[in-house]
Symmetry: D2
């Protein structure tokens, strides 16, 4: 199969760089153009590179950042546009890109809560991609927009999916331990976070509730019905670099299932990307650690089953059941599975569906 040409909007930021890393050896997608703001225009990717754990190929390293231009992307024959723009800019650019015929896979929050746009995490809601047909019809465009979830929501939703499939519970309480890369660059000033933590991340707690409800919801052919579970979050920034840890507490109506059963439920979980063996799908979407002190960002954020899928699995641990209360921790790589890697996997789904 010929690789499908793709453009990247917002290539210079933390998430943009993760997109580059995810795409550089991709078997189905060919990154042909990278766009950025005026400020970085003309720089090579190698000059702005800040990801210590990803080495650029020589040909990718020498790609030059251009000023964002949808028509230029079309001229470069891009069929896909990956989008790592800030929400306000994405709000304008993404519909234009869709109108221009591009399949937009976006990390921006701008259209996540739009009625006809899915927040796709294909292990959870692969069928939500079908709502794109309604989106295309309504907007009259060949192109379309698919979003990935907020980074914290991604980890939580993946961990909740096997539980909501099997059990009933009305509420989830979650406290987060979020890495500084989640705030982008320059992001958090070092004087604020060095040897400290900050119990506030703008809009994050609201997003965790409403995005998770939609992601775990049901597509009935015309709309996505949110799941009837409420998420109460406390979001905190801590001085780790990559990987959002989350302390999850679930109150069951009656006695909770025992810890062994929960463990097995997590460990056995797999979704459509695993069955389809999509290129960046981890062998298991959830990795269970049995050690008493895991998961940890440094040790587990890059968990996966191979070099291509590293950072794509969610790790859970410390599964504890006490009466009707289940507690566990989950960890997601915020800029891979929770951002760029999520959208790349979404593109693989659309390719599989013949939508591009």
């Amino acid at each position: 199969m010929d690789r499908i040409p793709a453009a990247l909007f917002g290539a210079s930021g933390m998430v943009g760089q993760r997109f580059v890393a995810s795409l550089q050896d991709h078997p189905q997608v060919d990154l042909v153009a990278v766009y950025s703001s005026e400020r970085s225009k003309g720089k090579k990717l190698s000059e702005i590179w800040k990801l210590p754990d990803a080495v650029l190929n020589d040909d990718i390293a020498s790609m030059k950042l251009e000023k964002l231009d949808i028509q230029d992307a079309v001229k470069q024959k891009a069929k896909i546009a990956f989008c790592a723009l800030p929400a306000d800019l994405a709000k304008k650019v993404e519909p234009d890109a869709a109108s221009a015929g591009l399949a937009v896979f976006s990390n921006a929050a701008a259209y996540r809560m739009d009625d006809l746009t899915p927040i796709l995490i294909p292990e959870i809601n692969y069928d939500h991609i079908k709502i794109v047909e309604l989106q295309r019809k309504k907007k009259g465009t060949r192109g379309f927009i698919v979003t990935n979830a907020n980074c914290s929501v991604t980890g939580l939703s993946v961990a909740l999916k096997p539980l909501v499939d099997k059990y009933e519970f009305p509420r989830v309480f979650v406290s987060t331990y979020q890495a500084i890369s989640g705030a982008g660059y320059p992001g958090v000033p070092s004087l604020d976070i060095n040897a400290n933590c900050i119990p506030f991340i703008k809009n994050e707690e609201v997003k965790m509730n409403r995005e998770a409800k939609k992601i775990l919801g049901r597509f009935d052919g015309t709309s996505i019905r949110p799941i009837d579970i409420d998420i109460f979050a406390n979001c905190v920034r801590i001085p780790s670099r990559d990987g959002h840890l989350e302390a999850v507490t679930i109150q069951f109506a009656g006695k909770a299932p025992n810890a062994d059963e929960i463990t097995e439920t997590f460990a056995r979980f797999e979704g459509k990307p695993q069955i389809l063996k999509l290129p960046t799908a981890p062998k298991r979407p959830i990795i269970v650690r049995n050690e008493e002190n895991r998961p940890q960002p440094i040790l587990d954020a890059l968990a996966g089953s191979s070099d291509r899928t590293k950072g794509m699995a969610v790790t859970v641990g410390r599964i504890r059941v006490d009466g009707d209360v289940l507690r566990f921790f989950c960890l997601v790589h915020n800029t891979i599975r929770g951002s760029a890697g999520g959208s790349v996997l979404n593109a693989e789904c659309a390719i599989h569906e013949g939508m591009i």
Copy 2:
């Protein structure tokens, strides 16, 4: 009033040093002897000092660490023994010290759950100190043991007290962000915690439940009846130095009181130490911060109303109410209010009661 001579057991560790800092200018207590393990014997306090925010007086700085010896403490005319020993050692030493007639104020966990020993946080349960009379009677000693709470429990219990006095709720969910000083010295290896977090602190989650239940319980003249509220904790170490932050979620039976009412309930709270104006009692046991991103360890751990009381107040913030769910953050200085400072305040209560 003449100052009461006091000894300090376990003076070289993190908590031991905080005891020294709390006691060095104390108007009622006179630190006459400092004891430590064999290893530090003969060293001056200035040689082992590791607290950047506390400057030693010259006379205190030159006090020499002696090998732990109860009889020597008695010989030095100590009436009080502050105890910052590890639990296993405290288990043996503290009853012997009480038998020798010393009033023991302990930071160790060894006797916290003992039926006749109070976990005293005098803003919450000043009257629990009365159980000491039963303790003395049963053991037939003039001396006695009073403990302070675990550091995380202290912050949580102080914050819960005005709420349990006014409202009813069966459960509290809490996730902690605990500083490295809480693990003592050498404590956590830097390779484990640098730019990382660790979702495990041995025994901490269990302690948070059972100690808080006892502290918030009622003394009926013969025993302390635990309060009927369950605490479900997730305890995590993060790379901050001092100050444990806690994300607290409370589910009410019906609609929760609104945020303004909760705020006022916190802000108005005061206890016996405030009324008695005890030397190290903060003007307010709870400080409410209205900023959207507080409390933070770096900025708020040392909160208090004066130099003597710094680190003795608990700070709360981000009070949010959503239907029947209340969420807020609280922060306690773990080695001051949550350890040494707590026991010094307890001693002041006993002095006020004429027990020493």
Copy 3:
């Protein structure tokens, strides 16, 4: 003596806040007005406060930031203006303030290398303050400008002074370990410095050479003649919060004096501020630590002899002599002695001289 009214220009930044902390209980100076940029206008000092180790008095805490206005300062009867503005702004404001009759004590680099402006570190070059008379005469103003040194230069120069007085050597090699507070706020992005170090601080290496040469130079009645020693610096930012550590290597022409002699030379050093017992002068400008692993920023940055003088002494340690080479470490609190505290001490000198 009545306290002299003073204004503070640039009160909201890191150095500005240190000025407030240094001045709030000052026996000779009365802070009457605090100015800041448009952005912070109208905020109380308590609302912008970020210094964990300094507690504001209630009256100072409630002072409101006004938009920078020299005439307003004059109207408030200020005789002194402390300046913590960025260099480009200081370049314009400081001469205007001097023209308006204010005695300007500045932390800005703008006029440090001006021929008629001293870089005053009164333990080193108290007499350089006399050049102010020439400055006044030439500019025809009653007001004047006195600067403090760059933060790294301050530590190095204080440590070098007793050595240059006693020995001859042509060169000093120095490598720095500089704290993040030195870059101001927001300063260094956390993604750049978390668990990392950065071998570059703009202009710092050049400043270290030229400022030190001037500071250690001789005032001959008409001009300041730089000392004939060259400083070769390597400047590096590390993830500490406060306190610049410096590794100093000095090559002597012949055999170097032995370590004991050097130690004594450091320990005995005192300057005019010590003799005059100026309010913020530390008892000893240089504190020698004999431990094998000191000085350290966490343990020693706040070194001083009392609460008022904390952070005003320079700490040296690890004095090693090997043939003709002397090596040692020195540490300076960059925002106290190396910035705000330095200028406050300079003002005390001018007051002593009857210049205000």
Copy 4:
């Protein structure tokens, strides 16, 4: 070619784990047995794994740690023993292993200064390996010992080699910024190093001088003559995880060569491993960065030319010449090039020489 069976002594520590990572896909060496202390005996490598940037193969991950036993290694047909033991243990074990016929490649300091043992950095002193013949002869063993250098010395020596080949200078002044992984595990307590730095690393400054002199020395057929250059070091631990940065200052007898020439001298440097294309040899032993703020541990420690060689190149930057003084920074991955990776490359040399 059949892969040569190798044992690893001291597999559980930081350097031990790096040996495992370097060897797991090695084309010439087959890791057949991993030994550790009694404490870790029986554990799988996956259970003790702490290296976030290295993913274990399944077969390697399930290897079990055995108690150190030379005869067992021989029984497993090992021809090579990689040694990551502490110096005191290595002192006893390594000669025994050599006597048992094993080719020992050691990271321990025990025999580095032994007259007949080379400190091999093959880009610098490939021919020093020949002294092993004298070692064998004298000790009457088939086996032998080859050591790699101390981690800080490695970075400095590689950077100095092209300079000493071309220029003459008597002295090198160096200050280090050393990562916490260099102290092993548990190593540095977090309370000591969090947001701090420590100007002391036991024996490091002495090692930097004497090891560099030997490494850069000349083997004349009977002995290694140290180079006549003195290294004056200041060694400091900082809170970075991996990668030792070093600020190097060199004083030339006359005018120093200009920065462009120095840059080219570094960039063109290559050694025998590059010519022989040994498996873990980086394409270039020295990578020059032209950016004003490089090298940095986070961004450059893993520099190399491919997955196998990552962490094997030394990065230099900020080359500045001022009269007769040259200053630059160099960075070495302390547990790869400066430890385990160094010894693996040494083994490749010995294999090439037919010594195993």
